[in-house]
Amino acid sequence: MSNEERRTIRRERMQLVVRNKTFLVGCSILGFWLLLSIFGDLIAPRGASDQDFEFVSVGPSFKYWFGTDANGQDVLSRVILGTRLIVVMAFSATTLGTIVGTAIGLASGYFKGKFDMITMRLIEAISAIPVLIIALLAIAALEGRSPTLTVIVIGFVFTPNIGRTVRAAVLGEAELEYVAAARLRTERTPHILFREILPNVLPPIIVEFTVRLGYAIFAIATLSFLGAGVEYGSPNWGSQIAENWGNIYSNIWWPTAFPALAIASLAVSVNLISDSLLEVFEL
């Protein structure tokens, strides 16, 4: 293959990613939510706790596009204002889990031996506890009303899976001869781990990050629905649903449906991005 052809293939791959419909749709929706999370304060027509006692539990209308809930609060504003919390929490938790998981995976995959054995046993043990349950437990035990706590707990819970993926990738890479070649020019371990091996396992890590991000959104939404890990009264989507879902039996669907739609679209947008990346990188 000529060099020209090789360079073209690389360019084509990048174009494949960008032109991929799934990727574009995912990016647009995510972009929309990111904008909302930054500028929510300016866009929302009303405050999160503003109550209008004349319009309690009123359906979508010109005045209140998404209707009002049982407290007379504007559903639209609460959905908009709830964006920042879940977006920031999800990104932070995933970043935390990825950094720690990558470190563990690198060490485990490269050094193997006892450290690896112990780490794998711990990872297996943590994986044997459902994510949600371990999160609930930790948050309950730690008097969990703070989002920071939730972020740390979810990050911690994600570490095993990410660690496992990175470890598997590193195990494969460490066998390749360029690592031996690095040792043969007196490179020390930190260099080998971070400048030789890490750049090659970066693609799977990036993809894993986006996958985990989707699950972080999933977990945070569920936890807030269950009443754990969030402050009273904060306009987060999960607790909005928790407060209002009982009313669907009386056909008051709007305070539940719109936050639900928000959760679904945010999660799916992230998932579309990770899907398209998976496709392009053929993982």
Binding site: N3, E5, R7, Y178, L184, R185, T186
Partner: protein, 677 residues
């Protein structure tokens, strides 16, 4: 309607294309060949020439994006191009079979091997119990001892050679009139390969099947086939009876190919290998004129614009060239290396021996068993000398390299001495100068070069670490090294994935020379490369040695290459050195029985028939070596030597049987000389 004269297989002006990213790329261009009943036709070419495509086309099995764009494929006179799928399946069940590379993966891992062979019989309507019996008989036919046991095994439990026999049994079970074999022995050890090829010749004789034999190995083709076709870039450039084609090659590509193979008798000290400049084109490249014009020293403008037709050389011998009469005497093409030596940085040396390996052993733990991979190996290497390490799989040659380099530490008692100085057992404890003095070029440059680093960085970093240069000086030196190895400056900022195999290997060699080494270990450096590219790399290594005085430890399974490039050779079997001497001695005799068998298993290009000394039985596992001499259960010279009991009970020592020639055998060398003459 087929008569005795109808060819079993005929490709008539066949054209095949693959659709890649929306564009049709020509893979086979106007191929015409025919195979008579019972004949063996060899199709030879390098990577990307389309030979596998031709093989699959004969089976009417093209990938999803492949299509036949022109011509016909006639099986016993009938065109199978437009045949319905179920008719094609029927043909495959009864008339055409295929065997290809990697026998282990060709078998389903979750079904017993015997059941898979029996499946062929069941397809022609035979009952299940009968088909199992017939399957067992088929295994006997391919000379598998203890077929009943083998029937019950799974694919991963079979050795390479055994698996290939099973696949051949499966292929022949349907009594095909045509057997297509695509690189069937590539990847098998030399002695195993020879056995499988012998088997195929015998079966051909017994069944009268026609064979389409595809390989890149000219020696094997010469040995196995009645007629040969040379494929280049999807076009058949020359075709004829084997002897005619090899004795009187009439296409510049064939001539070039034959010239760049290191044949028996050639040695680096006296002969330089020819190369074919450039690289084989990628599958599907478009050409206006002759496909070979861009690399041909005889090419003129006419060649580049007009497509040459097949020209008759004599009888059935044809070549597609405007200058076929001049081909055999075409000018030689030999590249020079412009390497900038820095050998003055080495301190004056003491004595004649650069590297001394003493009593090296290595034991690995595998699944709880202890496996002795290397057993008390002692060798030495002089200045500016090449030591060839030869051996089949399991011989431990790569482990020795790793021990010498310090990647793996030897057992107690093993010492590696470099230029009079004993080296630390592990790499971390050796000082920078020693580490830089011994470097390695690996077999697979895709894995040996970090795919995320640029070429400059790969070589530059090595210079930085091993010579202590600062970053910018190191980069300058890297450019120098790379250009010296003929890697053009425009490619220096490229990543390895953008380079061809030969270029990648040059980068790997540049990196090895970054620290001005005294020894470079070459572990199968050309095994993954095409023949024409291999010659250029070998020339490069020879030049480097001449100009720089560097020593090589050259590991290869290719005996021709080892013979060409080595000064001295050590033959390894099961982790032991069983013969050690000059290149001349080891290849001309008297031989150690194992070396004898090994040499006789390599088919010669010049067509001379070497008496085959077979090595019976299977390679023993290193975890359970035979008692006495490790070769004794398979040794072709043991019986009747008079030393049988000794061979079975006591392990012989490595003794000097002639000046500078060592052998590990109980049978006195005089007796061997007599037996082997």
């Amino acid at each position: 309607m087929s008569t005795a004269n109808t060819p079993t297989l005929e490709l008539r002006n066949l054209e095949v294309a693959y659709t890649v990213r929306g564009i049709d790329r020509e893979v086979l261009r106007d191929i015409s060949l025919s195979i008579a009943p019972g004949e063996a036709y060899g199709l030879v070419g390098e990577s990307g020439c389309g030979k596998s495509t031709a093989a699959f086309a004969a089976m009417r099995y093209l990938p999803r994006n492949g299509k036949i764009t022109g011509g016909a494929i006639l099986f016993e006179g009938k065109n199978i191009v437009d045949m319905a799928d179920d008719e094609v399946s029927s043909l495959r069940r009864s008339a055409i079979s295929m065997v290809y590379q990697n026998p282990a993966t060709a078998l389903n891992p979750t079904i017993r091997v015997g059941d898979q062979v029996a499946e062929v019989f069941q397809l022609s309507g035979i009952s299940k119990s009968d088909s199992l019996e017939m399957a067992q008989a088929a295994l006997v036919q391919v000379q598998i001892a203890d077929p009943a046991q083998v029937m019950r095994r799974y694919a991963h439990q079979l050795s390479g050679g055994m698996a290939q026999r099973v696949v051949i049994a499966m292929a022949l079970a349907s009594n095909p009139r045509l057997l297509v074999m695509d690189e069937p022995t590539t990847g098998l050890d030399a002695t195993v390969e020879a056995e499988v090829l012998d088997l195929v010749r015998e079966l051909r004789r017994d069944t009268g099947t026609a064979v389409l034999f595809i390989s890149h190995n000219l020696g094997v083709i010469r040995h196995m086939c009645d007629r040969v076709g040379v494929l280049y870039a999807g076009a058949l450039v020359e075709q004829g009876a084997t002897a005619d084609l090899f004795n009187n090659p009439s296409h510049p590509y064939t001539v070039g190919l034959l010239r760049c193979i290191p044949r028996g008798g050639l040695h680096k000290s006296t002969d330089r290998l020819d190369t074919i400049p450039g690289t084989p084109p990628a599958l599907g490249t478009h050409f206006d004129g002759c496909v070979f014009a861009s690399r041909c020293s005889l090419a003129d403008d006419n060649c580049r614009t007009q497509l040459p037709q097949m020209v008759t050389i004599s009888g059935a011998h044809v070549a597609r060239c405007f200058h076929s009469d001049k081909a055999i005497s075409m000018p030689r093409s030999i590249e020079q290396t412009e390497f900038v030596s820095q050998s003055e940085i080495h301190a004056t040396h003491s004595g004649d021996t650069l590297l001394s390996i003493n009593h090296l052993s290595k034991i690995f733990t595998q699944d709880g068993h202890k496996v002795q991979v290397i057993n008390d190996v002692s060798l030495n290497l002089g200045f500016g000398e090449t030591l060839g390490l030869v051996g089949e799989s399991g011989s431990g040659k790569t482990t020795i390299a790793k021990l010498v380099l310090g990647l793996v530490s030897p057992e107690e008692g093993g010492v590696v001495t470099l230029d009079g100085k004993g080296l630390a057992k592990t790499l971390n404890r050796r000082d920078v100068h020693d580490v830089g003095s011994m470097q390695i070029v690996f077999q697979n440059p895709d894995q040996a070069l970090n795919r995320r680093h640029s070429v400059t960085r790969i070589v530059g970093r090595a210079v930085e670490r091993l010579r202590g240069f600062n970053v910018s000086d190191a980069i300058d030196r890297a450019h120098e090294l790379l250009s010296g190895m003929r890697v053009e400056a425009s490619l220096h900022s490229a990543r390895p994935v953008q380079l061809s195999g030969g270029l990648k290997q040059r980068v790997a060699i540049s990196r090895a020379f970054a620290g001005s080494p005294q020894i470079v270990v070459c572990d199968e450096p050309t095994s993954a490369l095409d023949v024409s590219v291999q010659a250029a790399i070998l020339n490069l290594l020879v030049d480097l040695q001449k100009q720089d005085g560097v020593s090589f430890i050259f590991i290869s399974h290719d005996l021709g290459v080892v013979r060409y490039i080595s000064d001295r050779i050590a033959v390894l079997y099961l982790g032991r050195v069983i013969e050690f001497g000059t290149s001349q001695r080891v290849f001309n005799g008297p031989f150690h029985p194992y070396t004898e068998a090994l040499l006789s298993s390599v088919p010669n290009i010049d067509g001379s028939i070497r008496k085959r000394i077979p090595l019976t039985g299977v390679v023993p596992s290193p975890s359970n070596p035979p008692s006495g001499c490790v070769l004794n259960p398979r040794c072709p010279r043991k019986a009747g030597s008079g030393y049988e009991t000794l061979c079975e009970t006591e392990e012989p020592n490595l003794t000097e049987v002639e000046p500078g020639h060592f052998m590990r055998c109980h049978i006195p060398v005089a007796n061997l000389k007599q037996l082997q003459s």
